[in-house]
C-alpha cells in the first residue's frame, strides 16, 4: 500500500527540514531532493504498474462510512506523475536560483508543504480532506509568492491570499451544502446518494464549487489574481503555480467533482465550454500586449487553461482525451518557459523584453529550450502542444461545435504571434547585452533540458500503442462517469 506515502514523504521532509536544516543549509537541499526523487519514482512506478486499476486506502484503518478514504485510479496517477515531474525539475532549478534570495531552508520546507498539499488534494477521496489539503497548498503558495520580499511580491501575495481565502470559503460552503444534502463527505458516497436528491441541490452545490474552483483555476471571470501572483513569485515557484497548482487545485478537482461525482450535467459542461472559450480569447489578447516576460507567460496560462476547459466541456471521449493531454503538456512547456524567464532574469536582472536581446550567445541552453517551448505552446507540429490542440479542435468539430473550434484556432494563432514576439525581442533582439551578472549553472540547465526533451517525448503519447497504456485509462476514468462509485465502494468492500 503506497497511497499514504504520497503525503507522508513530502510532509516528513518539510518537518525534518525545519527541524534539522535550521542549522545546516545543505541538509535542506539533500532532504528535499531525496523526497522529490522518491515521489517521482513512486508515481512513475504506480502509473506504469497500475494501468486501469483503482486502489483505495482507509486512513487510520476506519472503514468507509466513518473514515477518510484515499483513492488512486488512472487519473490520479496521471496527475501525480505530472506534479512529481514538475516539482522535481523545479527543485533542481531552485538549488541555484534561490541562493541569491535569503533564508534557504524555509524555502525548501514551504516547497515540500506545497507538494504535500497538491498530492493530498489529488489522492484524497473525501471532500473535507480535500479542503484541508487545498489550504495547506495555498498557504505555502502565499508564502512562496512573497518569498523574494519585494514590494510587488507582497502586493501580489496579498491579492492572491484574499482571492484564495474567498474561494476557499465558497468551496467550504459548497461542502457544507453537500453534507447537509447527502450526510456523507466521501466523494463516491456523495455520487451515489446525490441523484436521489432534488435537482436544485445539485445546482446550488455546482454553482458554489464552480465559483470556488473556478477561482482556483483562474478561468476567465475569476482570473484577476493570477497574472500578479504568477509573475511576482520566484521563477521555480511560478512554474509550480502555473504548471501544476492551478491544475491540481482547479482543473483536476473540477473534473473529479463534475464528472465523477455529479455525472456531468449538461448545464455545467456548457458552462465549461463558454468559460473555456472566453478564457482562450481574452487571455491571449491580454498576453499579447505585455512586455514583462513572466507576466506574458502568466496571461498565457489563463488562455491555455481555457483549452483544457474547452476540451472538458465538449465531453466526448475525444474531447476529454485532448483536455487531459493538454493538461500534461501545458504543465511541461509552461514550466519550461518560466524556467527560461527565471534564468534570463537571473542573468540580466530584467524581465522586460525590450531590454533583452542577443541571448543566443550569452545563454545558449536557455534560448534553445525556450525556442522548443515556444513552438510547443503555439502548436507547431512535432511538439506536444500541437497534438493536444489538434485533438481538442477535431473533437469540437466532431461534436458539432464548429464555432468553438474556430475560436480555438484563433487563440492558437495569436499564441504563435505573441511567442514570435518573445523570440524576436527577447532572444534575437538588436540590443546587445554584453555582460552577464550571474552565470546560469548546470543544475538550472539540466532542469530546462529535461523538460525540453519531455516536450518532444510526450508527443509520443498519442502514438496508438502508447496511447492505450497512458492516456486511454485516464479518459476511461473520466468518461465512464459513474464507474467511479462502483470502483471505490467495491474496492472498499473487497478489503
Amino acid at each position: 500500500m503506497i497511497l499514504p506515502y504520497y503525503i507522508i514523504i513530502p510532509l516528513l521532509a518539510a518537518f525534518l527540514i525545519s527541524l534539522i536544516a535550521g542549522k545546516k543549509d545543505n541538509w535542506a537541499v539533500i532532504l528535499s531532493v531525496i523526497a522529490t526523487t522518491a515521489l517521482l519514482v513512486l508515481s512513475l512506478f504506480s502509473f506504469i504498474s497500475m494501468k486501469d486499476e483503482t486502489v483505495t486506502y482507509s486512513m487510520s484503518a476506519w472503514s468507509l462510512p466513518y473514515g477518510i478514504v484515499l483513492v488512486q485510479d488512472a487519473l490520479t496517477s496521471f496527475i501525480l506523475v505530472m506534479v512529481s515531474i514538475i516539482s522535481f525539475t523545479s527543485l533542481i532549478f531552485s538549488i541555484q536560483y534561490i541562493r541569491h534570495l535569503s533564508m534557504d531552508w524555509k524555502y525548501y520546507s514551504l516547497f515540500m508543504l506545497l507538494v504535500t498539499g497538491m498530492n493530498g488534494v489529488i489522492i484524497t477521496g473525501d471532500f473535507f480532506n480535500l479542503y484541508v489539503f487545498m489550504e495547506i497548498a495555498l498557504f505555502s503558495a502565499f508564502a512562496l509568492v512573497a518569498y523574494g520580499s519585494r514590494a510587488e511580491e507582497f502586493e501580489a501575495a496579498f491579492k492572491y491570499a484574499v482571492m484564495g481565502s474567498v474561494s476557499s470559503f465558497l468551496i467550504l460552503a459548497g461542502i457544507a451544502v453537500t453534507y447537509s444534502a447527502t450526510s456523507t463527505l466521501t466523494m463516491a458516497k456523495v455520487a451515489e446518494v446525490l441523484p436521489t436528491n432534488d435537482q436544485k441541490v445539485i445546482f446550488w452545490i455546482g454553482a458554489l464549487f464552480m465559483a470556488g474552483f473556478g477561482l482556483k483555476a483562474a478561468a476567465m471571470p475569476f482570473h484577476a489574481w493570477l497574472p500578479d501572483a504568477h509573475s511576482s513569485a520566484p521563477a521555480p515557484i511560478s512554474s509550480m503555480l502555473s504548471g501544476v497548482l492551478i491544475k491540481a487545485l482547479g482543473i483536476y478537482v473540477l473534473i473529479r467533482i463534475f464528472y465523477n461525482v455529479f455525472n456531468a450535467p449538461e448545464i455545467f459542461t456548457k458552462i465549461f465550454l463558454v468559460l473555456g472559450t472566453i478564457s482562450i480569447i481574452i487571455g491571449v489578447f491580454l498576453a499579447i500586449g505585455q512586455w514583462d516576460m513572466k507576466r506574458l507567460l502568466a496571461y498565457h496560462s489563463i488562455s491555455q487553461i481555457g483549452y483544457i476547459l474547452l476540451g472538458m466541456g465538449i465531453a466526448t471521449p475525444l474531447g476529454i482525451l485532448g483536455a487531459v493531454f493538454h493538461l500534461f503538456n501545458h504543465a511541461i512547456f509552461k514550466s519550461l518557459l518560466f524556467y527560461n524567464a527565471g534564468s534570463v532574469e537571473m542573468a540580466l536582472g530584467t524581465r522586460d523584453l525590450r531590454k533583452m536581446g542577443n541571448l543566443m550567445k550569452i545563454l545558449p541552453t536557455t534560448s534553445q529550450t525556450s525556442l522548443i517551448a515556444s513552438l510547443s505552446i503555439s502548436g507547431i507540429p512535432p511538439f506536444n502542444g500541437f497534438f493536444s490542440k489538434l485533438i481538442i479542435i477535431i473533437a469540437a468539430l466532431q461534436a458539432g461545435l464548429p464555432w468553438y473550434a474556430v475560436f480555438a484556432i484563433i487563440g492558437s494563432l495569436l499564441t504563435l504571434a505573441s511567442f514570435m514576439k518573445v523570440q524576436r525581442y527577447g532572444f534575437k533582439g538588436e540590443t546587445t547585452v554584453e555582460s552577464v551578472e550571474n552565470k546560469v549553472g548546470w543544475r538550472m540547465n539540466t532542469a530546462m533540458i529535461i523538460l525540453a526533451v519531455l516536450c518532444i517525448a510526450t508527443s509520443l503519447m498519442v502514438v496508438p500503442g502508447i496511447q492505450e497504456v497512458t492516456l486511454d485509462p485516464v479518459v476511461k476514468v473520466i468518461a465512464d462517469k459513474t464507474e467511479y462509485i462502483q470502483l471505490v465502494l467495491g474496492g472498499m468492500n473487497g478489503n
Binding site: 484574499v162 467550504l172 457544507a176 497574472p227
Partner: protein, 112 residues
C-alpha cells in the same frame, strides 16, 4: 428557514466587505466575517431538534445528539481560518512597511 437566510446575509456582508473596502485591515476583517458565516452554516446543518451536545460523559445516558461531524469540521476550519488571518496580517504589516499605507488604492505597483 430564517436562520439560513440570516447566515447567507452574513456571508454576503463578508463578501461585500472584501470587494468594496479599500483598507487592508478591513479586508482582513471581512474575510473573517465570511469565514464565520460559513462556519455558522456548517453548525446550522448539524442542528437537530430537541437534541443534546454530542459528548459522552460518565454516568450520562446516550440521548439524541446533534450531528458531531460538522462540529469537528468547524474546529478544523477555525484552525485554517486562524492560519489565513495570521498570513494576511503578516502580509499587511509587510505591505505597510513597503508602502507606508493601508489604503489599497495606493498600493498599485502591479498594473494590468
Amino acid at each position: 428557514m430564517i436562520v439560513y437566510l440570516l447566515c447567507f446575509l452574513l456571508l454576503l456582508v463578508g463578501l461585500y466587505g472584501v470587494l468594496t473596502k479599500r483598507d487592508l485591515i478591513k479586508i482582513i476583517l471581512s474575510i473573517g466575517i465570511l469565514g464565520y458565516a460559513v462556519n455558522l452554516l456548517l453548525i446550522l446543518f448539524a442542528y437537530r431538534k430537541d437534541s443534546v451536545y454530542p459528548i459522552l460523559a460518565k454516568g450520562k445516558e446516550v440521548a439524541q445528539m446533534v450531528d458531531p461531524l460538522p462540529q469537528a469540521l468547524v474546529l478544523t476550519s477555525i484552525v485554517i481560518e486562524l492560519g489565513t488571518t495570521a498570513m494576511l496580517v503578516a502580509l499587511a504589516i509587510k505591505l505597510f512597511e513597503k508602502y507606508q499605507t493601508f489604503d489599497i488604492s495606493q498600493i498599485r505597483r502591479l498594473k494590468g
